[in-house]
């Protein structure tokens, strides 16, 4: 059932997955289930973007699996006509790890949210990232608990007034990008639910990357945290606060630019800076510290938000290494024989 390879990694994310014969369309990936998110939820836009992106990959539909945890976003697999596993709260990366490690011929996706991935499932997320199993993790970050009706989440801003924090939340939020980089992730990106073109461009790179790709998607929950990312969508300000990162290009918005400062990076007025001083994005840098510095630029408020791929580096994927060990063991000593195994060690015969 499984094939294995010793090929390279980056740009080979799909190399082991069988290709579809005919052309696919969006319809091929829609399931017959009625979609049940709140009207206006950002999840709709992400679903539509993913459904219209998948045909582009040209993979056999039956070799694609969506695994999710618990939360609004985790209903996602039901709406795609691929294999799907809606699991339990926080555990999707663990379940997907077992699936991907034993089946390198599958394109395995994890759909998770900020509560699912960063609170109850935080441990599984960081370990999946350091291991680099071949997974595409889409982290829908709406900075709130939706399914349990509006408690603050591990990405909510300090002082958030919610049902469970009437006087304001006290704990400092995670920055998912910083966390992922700290967890040795090889591919880390951020995109936005409403920007289909950007979202799909990021997915394209994420799927090409063999190993764990973490894509944080800012997702609007219009019921419990409406407008959390409004600044990035508002035509008045978005072009000035969105710092688009593209490999090999200067990192800047219409009005701002990222430059090196004495102790790291800083954002300056674009007009007042020489273009040659603007930091040119290198997503493939092995050292993650610059990517980490980029992830800190928008702390704490949404004044200038880097969007795009923070980091994309080459590293063997866990599933590939695991299968290589199996292959090596077989090539060194031959395929295991049960009879020999049971009779191994000291035996004696009684007549």
């Amino acid at each position: 059932m499984t094939e294995t390879t010793t090929n390279g990694v980056n740009g080979k994310g799909l190399a082991l997955i069988p290709k579809a014969e005919g052309r696919q369309t969006l319809k091929d990936f829609k399931s017959d289930q009625e979609v049940r998110w709140c009207p206006g939820c950002g999840d709709y836009a992400i679903l539509a973007a993913v459904q219209s992106f998948l045909p582009e990959l040209g993979l056999k539909r039956e070799n694609i699996v969506f695994v999710s945890g618990i939360g609004c976003s985790s209903r996602f697999p039901y709406y795609l006509n691929t294999y799907g596993f809606h699991s339990i709260h926080g555990r999707a990366p663990a379940i997907a790890t077992g699936l991907a490690a034993s089946r390198p011929d599958l394109s395995v996706w994890v759909i998770t949210g900020d509560g699912d991935a960063l609170s109850i499932g935080g441990n599984h997320l960081i370990h999946a990232l350091r291991r680099n199993v071949n997974l595409n993790i889409l982290l829908f970050n709406n900075r709130i608990y939706g399914l349990t009706k509006g408690q603050y989440s591990p990405t909510s801003e300090v002082g958030k007034i919610t049902k469970s924090t009437p006087m304001g939340s006290l704990d400092r939020p995670f920055n998912p990008i910083s966390l992922a980089l700290g967890a040795e992730a090889g591919f880390v990106a951020r995109t936005l639910d409403s920007d289909r073109k950007h979202l799909q461009a990021v997915l394209r790179e994420a799927t090409e990357h063999r190993g764990t790709s973490l894509v944080e998607i800012y997702q609007n929950c219009n019921i419990f945290n409406d407008g959390a990312f409004e600044a990035l969508k508002d035509p008045e300000v978005r072009d000035s606060i969105t710092l688009r990162m593209e490999h090999g290009k200067p990192i800047a918005s219409a009005t701002k630019a990222v430059v090196r400062s004495d102790d790291g990076l800083e954002v300056v007025d674009r007009a007042g800076v020489d273009e040659s001083r603007i930091l040119v994005h290198d997503a493939h840098r092995q050292d993650p510290s610059l990517a980490f510095a980029l992830s800190r630029l928008d702390e704490p408020a949404f004044e200038h938000v880097p969007i795009g791929i923070f980091r994309s580096v080459d590293r063997p994927s866990y599933d590939q290494l695991m299968n290589e060990q199996v292959e090596l063991a077989v090539s060194q000593r031959g395929r295991g024989d049960l009879g020999d195994l049971l009779l191994g060690g000291d035996t004696w015969r009684i007549n």
Binding site: M1, T2, P18, S31, Q33, K60, R61, E62, N63, I64, V65, V67, I70, P77, Y78, T82, Y83, G84, F85, H86, S87, I88, R91, A94, I95, A96, T97, G98, L99, A100, A101, S102, R103, D105, L106, N123, H124, H127, M322, Q325, V326, L328, A329, V330, Q332, R333, G334, R335, G336, L338, L341, L342, L343, G345, D346, T347, W348, R349, I350, N351
Partner: protein, 614 residues
């Protein structure tokens, strides 16, 4: 000097020393020699959870008990005939278990004022009358070893370390054990340090020669090989047998084995063993925690692997939610619980049968899970295959309840012929099964009630499963009250309908009025106790449960056929509670929860009391 040779039918030896003295290794080697010689045997390692408790203290004592005989035996023995005590702590910790007249071989070099004080001896027990009940053989093991290794180019510390091999050599002489395999073993073990290898071999030989020449031992003993059924034998521990059983289940099901596990005492050796066998296509995944271990195993099962997770009680609790997910999604999954003393951390290296009710009920909702329990260390092999058979055939998580006693204990195992192993292969779904040409993931096999297993990569059968209640047949999300009630009953009926062999009863004359029933690792002690009773003319029947959920179909009938039913358990009556509830039979419980297996003599007394009472 010619020495007398005395014939014995069985001997129980306990090697005891400090954790750093290599007692487990010494015991293992003596066991291997004994197995090779052809005696039947049973072992009981007993060690502290601490890797190196402070040297010379009571908590630091590690021991290894071996019972061997010229006939088939069932337990590691109640009380040792011979204690090898490497230091005062080992003597003090084990003395209470020694019957009057037993031999004590004691390392006198360690009986210094300081070491004696460490364990609370005010005087030297070797110098006063306190050991007069026993036959004490004082041997300066350490200094004899150091002296024997004078000419070797090794440190004094390394020379002293070899004292366990000196002791092994002495005991090997005393009981006429074959020595070649131990020498080969030492050469292989220290292949990278040839000086150490030679020194250990020399210490071993010196111990043997010391026995031959010293006057402290005037008699040596012969225990003839046991007459066991013909076949090829090897010695095997429970954890090793379990690992081999899992590999066999993978071969016999033609499914790749995927183990997701997190290290925990006393289950880790299964992970260690399986990780050595990658050439069987075995993938072992050391997860970040217990939850990820079972999660990964379930994910692999979704992909068509034989998914297994191994742990002990504290891990089962953490895995509970995922096992529930496996119940809901009806995927095959093996959950191995090597039980240990609880609650909480409890006593990690000590044995117990206290997880039965957790295995049975420890999940939210109506969440039935089949339970299988091995009876002896080598039986872990067959139990693993049986658990896999049920999981695959019925698409369900299965709990296998081993325990610390089975896991670390060992016994000779008649190696089964491969052609005698059951074929447990199952077919994946390959075609749509709905009337309308759709794939219905919850359309069941009418006979087994198992749902079809369609693995990713199968065209046309794309489907979604999950923990939310599903509609019968289509598998779509359903909150319909009637559907939920139906699904709850279907899941229960599927488990209740598992084909479990009938319970057999051992009642030689067929006229016993008392039945002793047990489950899991109490098999050996119960059977040994019954032998004593029967030898003395008592009548008693024995039945032992391999399947705890569902129970064998005839169990009610068996229980009702006796005037009295006695159930010894190493818990406070967990199986008794289930049997009482299910069959309304007034089970007589016998419970001890000391972290140790029952003793045959103890059980024989209990059984006799039940027989005698009216």
């Amino acid at each position: 000097m010619t020495k007398q040779v005395q014939q014995l039918d069985r001997v129980i030896i306990r090697f005891a020393g400090d954790s750093g003295d290599g007692m487990q290794l010494t015991g293992d080697r003596f066991t291997a020699e004994t197995a090779e010689f052809g005696n039947d045997l049973s072992t009981l390692p007993n060690f502290p959870a601490e890797i190196r408790a402070p040297a010379g203290t009571l908590p630091g004592v590690s021991s290894f008990q071996l019972h061997f005989a010229d006939h088939d035996i069932l337990t590691p023995g109640d009380a040792p005939n011979v204690l090898v005590a490497m230091n005062p702590a080992a003597l003090k910790a084990n003395l209470a278990d020694l019957p009057r007249g037993a031999d004590i071989i004691v390392n006198t070099d360690e009986f210094t004022t300081r070491n004696l004080a460490k364990v609370g001896y005010t005087g030297n027990p070797l110098a006063d009358e306190s050991l007069s009940e026993w036959r004490v053989h004082p041997v300066p093991l350490t200094s004899l070893t150091v002296k024997a290794l004078e000419d070797f180019d090794i440190s004094k510390k390394d020379a002293e370390r070899a004292k366990n091999m000196f002791a092994l050599g002495l005991l090997s002489w005393l009981y006429h054990r074959p020595t070649e395999a131990t020498i080969r073993f030492l050469e292989a073990k220290f292949a990278k340090k040839p000086d150490i290898a030679k020194a250990n071999v020399a210490a071993f030989n010196a111990g043997w020669n010391f026995g031959e020449t010293t006057e402290s031992f005037s008699v040596s003993y012969e225990i003839k090989p046991a007459k066991l059924p013909a076949g090829v034998y090897r010695n095997i521990s429970g954890n090793q047998a379990l690992a081999y059983g899992l590999i066999a289940a993978s071969v016999q099901s033609k499914l790749p084995l995927f183990l997701g596990s997190y290290p925990i005492t006393p289950a880790s050796d299964i992970l260690h063993e399986l990780s050595k066998h990658k050439r069987f296509g075995v993938r072992t995944f050391q997860a970040e925690d217990e939850i990820a271990g079972v999660g990964a195993a379930l994910g692999a099962a979704f992909g068509g692997a034989l998914g297994v997770t191994t742990t002990s009680g504290p891990g089962i609790i953490l895995k509970g939610e995922t096992v529930g997910l496996a119940v809901a999604t009806e995927l095959p999954l093996l959950v191995i619980d090597v039980q240990r003393a609880g609650p909480s951390t409890g006593m990690p290296t000590k044995t117990e049968q206290t997880d039965l009710l957790m295995a049975m009920f420890g999940r939210n909702g109506e969440s039935p899970v089949p339970i299988v329990a091995p009876a002896t260390p080598s039986d872990c092999f067959a139990a693993a295959i049986e658990a896999a058979r049920i999981a695959l055939k019925y698409r369900t998580p299965v709990m296998l309840l081993s325990d610390g006693y089975l896991a670390n204990g060992s016994e000779p195992w008649k190696v089964p012929a491969i052609e005698d192993l059951p074929d447990i292969s199952v077919a994946f779904a390959t075609e749509p099964n709905g009337d309308d040409g759709s794939y219905q993931p919850f359309k069941r096999d009418p006979e087994t009630l198992a749902r079809p297993w369609a693995v990713p990569g199968t065209a046309g059968l794309e489907h979604r499963i999950g923990g939310i209640e599903k509609a019968d047949g289509s598998g779509n999300i359903s909150y319909d009250p009637g559907n939920h009630d139906l699904m709850v009953r279907l899941r229960q009926a599927k488990i209740d309908g598992i084909d479990v062999p009938d319970l057999t009863v051992d009642d030689p004359d067929g006229d016993a009025r008392v039945l002793v029933i047990g489950w899991g690792s109490t098999y050996g002690p119960i059977a040994a106790a019954l032998r004593r009773i029967r030898k003395a003319g008592g009548k008693v029947a024995q039945a032992h449960l391999r399947h705890l959920n569902p129970f064998p179909k005839n169990i009610g009938e068996v229980l009702r056929a006796y005037d009295k039913v006695l159930l010894p358990e190493i818990n406070l009556g967990q199986l008794a509670m289930l049997l009482r509830a299910r069959f309304l039979i007034d089970i007589i419980s016998y419970n001890r929860v000391r972290g140790l297996p029952f003793k045959a003599e103890e059980l024989a007394g209990v059984i006799q009391d039940v027989i005698d009472s009216d």
